[in-house]
Symmetry: C4
Subunit: 247 residues, 4 copies
């Protein structure tokens, strides 16, 4: 096994002008959006990425078959043709983050990508009822269109900058003359957050023209909010109980 | 000293169709099973494995002689011939886990292994009276026989997948066209667990036809349960005392 | 991306006899001094340094553009000509600290530097009203002038020696026949400390003859002290309240 | 700077049959013994060892001069000629421990060393009034003489084996046909422990015939015991006070 391996899965050439990254991260916001799109667009898996920098851990499939942790590239051959970078893990080491980001960009170049969207969450540590979508770009010229599409820019959010693949792809893609936009859904960060994902998908659709059925994502968001609502109520009830008990 | 060293200890060629891995891990379940088999089958040590990726620590022998931390391969030249991978430590670094797993598979290829059993524990965090044996395989075709032998498959157990050598050998062996089955004994994870080991040995015997005297493992399990019984009783007594004291 | 990259930004040759290092660290003392000097002297950025050893994180600019974490070299072409080493981060790994320090010294040699000042904070864990400036040098001959300039030498301060770039540049520069002086402003270490920075700037000015307007640094120090004064008062008030409440 | 550098400091050839290692560790027991011997025997420094694997930290000298963290080899050209390995730090990384141990053995081979004594502490977590000296060897033949000299062997002490340079030199030296004996002074592990060092020196003197004035070590041990005695008394007084207060 090499330090990083990209296995291309089909023989005919694959082309995609756009790459959408949705690796695991805060609130799994990027992952939720990218996997929703892959499902709705019936995108085809065209590559698997393996690395010593992923955690030394195998993933169990529904059939009881274990496989190496990996990331994957899917392709939707529509107009526009879109590649998706999704998977199990980000790097387990600091240097691995840089090396994997370069490998992802090698794959993007191989596909002829000229624009990258990196999707993630921006964890604020408390429940958010109307989550904003924060953005960053790799060239100032890209900003107006992103604002028109509904995202906000604030150099202090997230406070320390953007960690991991979403950040590094944004900055390193400039070296390869690719445009890149990062979209971050505001989220508590405690749970997988389909509401934040829905907000990110709104902006992404406006920017790319991709239209998909959103009912599944909306259903998951409604379910999650119902669960949170009950938890919050039972918290309040517990608080009332304590008061009664003390009183 | 090289990054990873395999020292073969005998000159005549060694052959084994099966490799059983029982390195240290949760509840030392795999280690207990593999070492029990090595003892009962009087398997011969045929290789030692040294690595910079093991902790920088030496092991004290009963004679006061210190030696490097190492893993070892034993050989039982019966029908079937079986190799055993056991030892002091797993890797101390994430990347080392991958590199060591590849070295173990190099050794397995050298022995002509076509099937690997990786043994471990599945820690559930509470005492288990009738521990199940969970399994995962590297090809779906292997599953029915493993179920017949008494193990269960559940893609959510262990929840995050399988960590370390037991997991990586399972997944990486597929690249070398070896079959692999992982057997995990359900255990609290707090103590070395011969009862969980006994369960794993049941399934392994059914799968491989290996029959050994099990009295030593059963005795250890009974002793351990007696100790736990006393601890639990004394806990209850302490609880009663506290109640009395408060009352 | 290479392990460490230095990108020189201008074509004409750059020369500087002195290099002043002010990377982030305790109380951001070195950073405050170096950035103040860069601003007041209108120094020009002449190099950017990128590395896998920086945290895998991108920095957001005021225009919404993200860029890789990096360090930078600025040049003031006065008499004397001075280079400044400032930036976002120190190394995220132990070995990276050594490798980056060597890269900084490669850059210093490229500029013809013969003397280095490394600036930092010495965290004492409590508020300091009249912060001292501690120093260390790489050759004993340098010490008298530094004492005359107002810094103190104490082999037990900081107790464990000097960590990171400020320390390694001091020691490694001797191998390249460069003189080096480390100046550390005594600071609580809890907050960015412009008062400690002001003390370090005093000593640095005396040593180098650099004279700059200091009002901005003084204003920030006064503001910080006012904030701390209010925090301390409100602490006392809170203490009084508690007493009243209990009493 | 290379990963590991050994700088030999004198031109004429150096020879030593014995190497005594006393790097920093638990209770600084080995360091205290080795540095005491270096001082009493007026041993000469003949080598300095630098490494990226040491912490990225410089050490302050009494003259205000900072230098890289390093280990050192001293030579006593008596009968027998003895080398001493002492210094500032052990490795900061697991792999570095192995690589540095190999470098120390390269240096030992260069000196013609045929026997190594590694000195350390065995931390037991409570005050010890009559500290034992525990030992381990790299060949069983070495054990009787070490027992005669007053050390004990117990495969369960220290429980997990021997960590760091003292352990690795013991095990790795066998590969170079050197004899090695590890001596570990029983110590609380909380403080530098000259009493434990004195016990180790007793055994080492009996084994090597090295006789030195021990008054300085004894004085430090007496001082330390007086300090601990006072601390313990004041603890008891505090306890009495609390009792009085509660009563």
């Amino acid at each position: 096994m090499d330090e990083i391996e990209i296995h291309w899965l089909r023989e005919e050439e694959a082309q995609a002008g756009i790459l959408i990254e949705g690796l695991p991260g805060i609130g799994h916001v990027g992952k939720l959006v990218a996997e929703h799109l892959i499902g709705e667009l019936h995108a085809e898996k065209i590559a698997e990425i393996y690395s010593l920098h992923f955690p030394p851990q195998v993933i169990l499939g529904p059939d009881g078959v274990a496989r190496l942790a990996r990331n994957e590239i899917f392709l939707h051959e529509g107009e526009p043709a879109i590649g998706f970078l999704v998977g199990d893990h980000q790097s387990a080491s600091g240097e691995g983050h840089y090396l994997l980001a370069e490998a992802y960009l090698d794959a993007a170049e191989h596909l002829g990508v000229s624009r990258i969207y990196t999707l993630g969450g921006y964890g604020v540590g408390h429940l958010v009822t109307e989550p904003r979508v924060l953005s960053a770009v790799n060239r100032a010229e890209l900003r107006p269109a992103v604002e028109t599409a509904g995202a906000e820019f604030n150099p202090d959010e997230p406070p320390g900058g953007i960690l991991g693949a979403s950040g590094l792809l944004l900055a390193l893609s400039l070296r390869r003359d690719m445009d890149a936009v990062c979209l971050m859904g505001e989220t508590s960060g405690y749970l997988a957050d389909p509401r934040a994902a829905s907000g990110v998908l709104n902006v992404l659709s406006a920017l790319t023209g991709i239209e998909v059925d959103r009912s599944q994502l909306e259903t998951r968001a409604a379910e999650m909010e119902s669960i949170i609502g009950k938890l919050t109520e039972s918290d309040r009830a517990a608080d009332d109980d304590s008061l009664r008990y003390i009183g």
